[in-house]
Amino acid sequence: MIEVKNINKSFDGKQILYDISAQFLGGNVNQIIGQSGSGKTVLMKSIIGLFKAESGEVLYDGRNLQEMTEKEVKILRREVGMLFQGSALFDSLTVLGNVMYPLEMFSSMTRIEMEKRAKFCLERVNLIDEKHNLYPGEISGGMQKRVAIARAIALNPKYLFCDEPNSGLDPVTSLVIDKLISDITKEYGITTIVNTHDMNSIMETGDHIILIKGGRKAWEGSKNDIFEKGNPDLEDFVFASDLFKTIRKKKVDNNN
């Protein structure tokens, strides 16, 4: 479980996050949702420690990130996997090389064991053998995301962070990626935090959701609560789309 307590963050005197607190449970897909520029990525990077929060605490299963020594942070990092918005695969390495990279850096496995583990992770994200020796530039965006997921789970992480995993993907591939993240989270009991503003993704996998608006936590709940609760900030975000307005209207009509 990851717990965030009263996080504040500013850049050059401009406050971006205001006193955010939340709990992200293990085995759940926890989503941070909100419009572009609302502070989702800053919150995620503050939780990971890429940005240093000015005040507040981030607890990884009770371990306070702010109080950790550099060595302890390094150890924690090996328990963390991350899927970046642009995949962030290493251009100079093949698909297999990318997945093997964290193993080569931090495991004491032999080369054969590393290859076996990397191939297992690639198979888990449904990437066939023929693609393993291609470079990231030679595969599609959806495949790159799958390779990035395989790399993120190579070291059996306890915590998985996904920054807008569906950006730039078609709806079908987005569903595949969402399902993959959800399945892996449940299968390995990982604490997963996903940054997204994709409504399909929210309705598909959002076990626990927090809405960020203007750097503040505006709402918290699950995908099942979205149509029930009358939070104005949530409604502004969710029902910006005509499709969801229609779904709600149908729901209200059915209830009546």
Binding site: L50, R77, V80, A88, P102, E104, F106, L155
Partner: protein, 247 residues
């Protein structure tokens, strides 16, 4: 001025991370030969062409512009040798390398920064500064003496070519000049300078790439800064090293 001191501070912090304890020594040193090829060996052709042509041109210019009966004919070989040993093979060659290698390093690391590849390494717990920059510094610094030797040799061969294929100077006069009052320390001086300059090119360029922020424009800006700043720092260091080693 404040920005300058900030940059110096950040550069020192980065270098501390570059030379701090490595996560995986085997993986790190495996990259050094690759960087030696990419940064050093791939520059041989450029250095060779420029060294030979400049050797030819400088020899001809010296002969044509020093028609003074008081100056002995062998002065041409002497001037060419000392120019190459003292300045051309280290300073001028490194200014050329700053353009080729410096921009390459800054744009490569800068692209990794803006495409979040460096963030990905940090998330994994990898010391990205050490993993990315250390092999580049070592690769270039180790290869520098080879480039200096090659540059001097090919420059002098260019001069010999002028003596062999034109009537401007006899081979005896030219070779006598090359051998006249030779001070072996000049070669050591040149190698030391080139090692220092190799460090400056690789570390300063890596610094600008590592701290690139934004998109493609930031990578372009980092490349430009890498070439300009490393050239200026090299020229300043040239004065310091000359003062320290030759006066």
């Amino acid at each position: 001025m404040k920005r300058l001191f900030e940059d110096i501070g950040r550069y020192c912090q980065l270098m501390l991370r570059v030379f701090s304890r490595t996560d995986n020594r085997r993986m790190l040193w495996k990259q050094v030969p690759t960087e030696m090829v990419k940064l050093g060996a791939d520059s041989i052709l450029l250095i060779a062409i420029i060294s030979i042509f400049m050797g030819v041109i400088m020899t001809m210019q010296v002969i044509l512009n020093t028609e003074n009966p008081l100056l002995p004919r062998y002065t041409t070989g002497l001037m060419l040798r000392d120019t190459y040993l003292l300045e051309f093979s280290s300073t001028i060659m490194c200014l050329l390398l700053a353009g080729k290698v410096g921009s390459n390093i800054a744009s490569e690391i800068g692209s990794m920064r803006v495409s979040e590849q460096i963030d990905a390494m940090e998330i994994m717990g990898v010391n990205s500064a050490n993993y990315l920059i250390f092999p580049k510094i070592m690769g270039l610094v180790i290869f520098m003496p080879i480039l200096v030797t090659l540059c001097v040799a090919l420059g002098l061969i260019g001069g010999v070519g002028v003596a062999a294929f034109t009537d401007l100077i006899t081979m005896d006069d030219f070779v006598y000049g090359l051998q006249y009052a030779f001070i072996p320390f000049y070669f050591t001086y040149s190698v030391i300078k080139s090692i220092v300059f190799g460090f400056i090119i690789s570390s300063v360029s890596a610094f600008y790439g590592y701290y690139a922020f934004g998109g493609a424009l930031a990578v372009g800006r980092a490349s430009t800064n890498a070439v300009v700043k490393s050239s200026i720092i090299m020229l300043l260091m040239d004065i310091v090293l000359t003062d320290l080693m030759l006066t």
